[in-house]
Amino acid sequence: MTATLVAVQVLNGLQLGVLLFLVAAGLTLVFGVMDFINLAHGVQYMLGAYLAVSFYGLTGNFFAALVLALLAALAFGLLLEFLVFRHLYDRDHLDQVLATFGVILFLNEGVRIVWGAAPLSYPIPALLGGTIPLMEGFGYPIYRVAMILAGLATAVLLWVVVTRTRVGMLVRAGATNPRMVSALGVNIRRLFMIVFGFGAMLAGFAGVMAGPILSVEPGMGDGVLILAFVVIVIGGIGSIRGAFVAALLIGLVDTLGRSFMTDIFKAFLAPAAANQVGPAIASMLIYLLMAGVLFFRPSGLFPAAGR
């Protein structure tokens, strides 16, 4: 277990964390501002990747596909809001869960019909194609570094928007007391729509970024959704700052756990037993972390004010 290996794994953890942040940011806003549980958020991540596949096929250029996919993801998010979600804001959480779960089933099947069941992909842009040699015979892909940077840039942008702009102020106010904001003459429905479309676009962005390194397939958003929920619960619902810290935390804990848990157990268990116990504990680690956080801070690490 060398220092370089640890450094590489920390990078890997950051990269997973950044990806989770992009998905969780939209989820936490929608949940926090509108008190709306959107299980279909993971599907929007998947859709971003699928749209990028199609636009890459049309344009042959990653960056063009990225921009087009983002616009299409935004449009689709708004369409979903218009068709389905706006009818659910006043219902209770169970109805929302039921309806958005239906959207998951519908869209997972939908992409299978449109794009087929086989995994798809599109290549890393040539500009970001190389690797940074870190270990002998092993390079860290520049694309993954670019992902980390893009995620951090998005986080900064979000922070500026939420803390320094009028819309951001309304979003924060809406997260704290939506009725009061409405009473003060703000069109809360339109605010909801903006937040929703933006959240869908962020999830789509994560999907587009993930496409070249992961496989684009039906159901790819489901696993991410669960992790994103863990992130927003740990971070505090409605808090962008919380989502950011929690996403990085989850990324690091999960990656480092997967990498070193078996080795740690090997120090005091037989290798065969360690191979049994290590992966099992490693896959539980983030849920243990969540349980721990909930025990000591029931409303998350950075609860949005007034909740």
Binding site: V8, P119, M135, G139, Y143, I213, G223, S259, G278
Partner: protein, 389 residues
């Protein structure tokens, strides 16, 4: 209204009374995984099977065929409910297909105990090759261990000294590791088990780089394999480590991995370029009809249809004598697209296994291609435990 309904029911009842009539079409139930990410495997098997039936003008062994397709959704309980429907409602003569071992485990007893023939076109669970073997089960694929054994044997024969094993953390992953180790006597530097459905292998790849093995052996079916292959290439590990795999690099994943997989090794009993007349005709017809390159799963589906065809023909369409049908199936009297093919005592094939490599063909499509034969006429290790009644 009620009268019409009654009349219809009576008519249906009369129809069912004559179900045994030889003019009735023969019914084949196909149990396949056709939803979720692994749906592509089920699709390949179904398309391969359907191709042969269509080539025979909708008949098998001279009898009209009605195919009832059931999607098991990769859920054993769903498979069990649906297979009961096939057996009791549809009264099928054969059940064919089954992609995953856990599904086979769920439906094996209900099908074989009802004395219906089960033609396995993929999953080859060790229990059913050994103690649990049945006269009503025939496989057109392999016993699960064998594909992994090919890789272990190859690594051993080539004199590789150290191997890094990477599989998902579930039963088939552990079986895969056991299969690899059966013939590989070099050092296993590490065994890493990832969670099933793992998306990002960056952590595992860093460990491989740190361990510096000569070969990495992996079993990552479906989307997991796509991710692993792409990330393996992106990290530049392909330059220093030989990549051996099972069910990871094949025609179901190559459309996604494309150039990233070219040159990587896998093992199989079949490839599209395997040189025999039956295979040439099969691949040509398949690609013309469906517009994609068949995988080993498609070939197994095609052979399942051929197997049923040969047996029904041998008994002249009379399926009432189960013993005779079983004996006819056992003969495997058809030109398998994999070449040599005969049945072992446990009704699993004795066949050749190859080291195969992913290539880009002249027409721009990606496919696997034979590199060398690793096992000749190889049976599985469980056959000796099978007491066929």
């Amino acid at each position: 209204m009620r009268k019409v309904l009654t009349a219809a029911l009576v008519a249906a009842g009369v129809g069912m009374g004559f179900a045994a009539n030889a003019a009735e079409p023969m019914k084949i139930g196909m149990m396949l995984t056709l939803s979720g990410p692994p749906a592509v495997l089920g699709k390949h098997i179904r398309d391969g099977f359907q191709l042969f039936v269509d080539q025979q003008g909708g008949k098998l062994g001279g009898r009209d065929v009605e195919i009832v397709v059931a999607d098991d959704e990769l859920k054993p309980d769903v498979a069990l409910t649906k297979v009961k429907g096939l057996l009791e409602r549809d009264k099928v003569d054969f059940v064919a297909g089954v992609v995953f071992s856990n599904i086979l485990q769920a439906i094996y007893r209900p099908v074989t105990e009802s004395e219906t023939f089960l033609i396995g076109a993929n999953a080859g669970t060790s229990t059913f090759a050994g103690k649990g073997c049945s006269p009503y089960f025939f496989s057109t694929s392999w016993q699960n261990d064998q594909i992994h054994e090919v890789m272990g044997k190859y690594a051993q024969d080539k004199g590789f000294k150290s191997a890094f094993l990477l599989t998902p953390n579930y039963q088939a992953g552990k079986d895969s590791v056991a299969g690899f180790k059966r013939h590989f006597k070099g050092e296993v530097v590490d065994e890493v088990y990832t969670k099933l459905g793992n998306l990002d292998f960056s952590a595992e790849l860093a460990k491989i780089a740190a361990a510096k093995p000569e070969v990495v052996f992996t079993f990552m079916p479906g989307g997991m394999g796509v991710n692993l292959v792409k990330q393996f290439k992106q990290a530049g590990l392909d330059k220093s480590v030989t990549f051996l795999s099972a069910f990871t690099v094949d025609e179901t994943t190559l459309p996604a991995t494309k150039d990233d997989a070219v040159g990587l090794f896998s093992s199989s009993q079949w490839t599209p370029d395997l040189d025999n007349a039956a295979n040439k005709a099969f691949v040509e017809a398949f690609e013309a009809k469906y517009g994609y390159v068949p995988s080993l799963y498609a070939s197994q589906g095609f052979d399942a249809a051929q197997l049923i065809d040969s047996a029904v023909r041998a008994v002249k369409g009379d399926l009432s004598d189960k013993k005779a049908v079983g004996a006819a199936l056992k003969k495997a009297d058809f030109a398998s697209v994999r070449g040599d093919f005969k049945y072992n005592t446990n009704h699993f094939p004795i066949q050749d296994y190859y080291l195969v490599k992913a290539v880009k063909r002249a027409d721009g499509m990606y496919a696997t291609s034979v590199v060398e034969k690793v096992f000749d006429d190889y049976g599985d290790v469980y056959a000796s435990e099978c007491k066929m009644k």
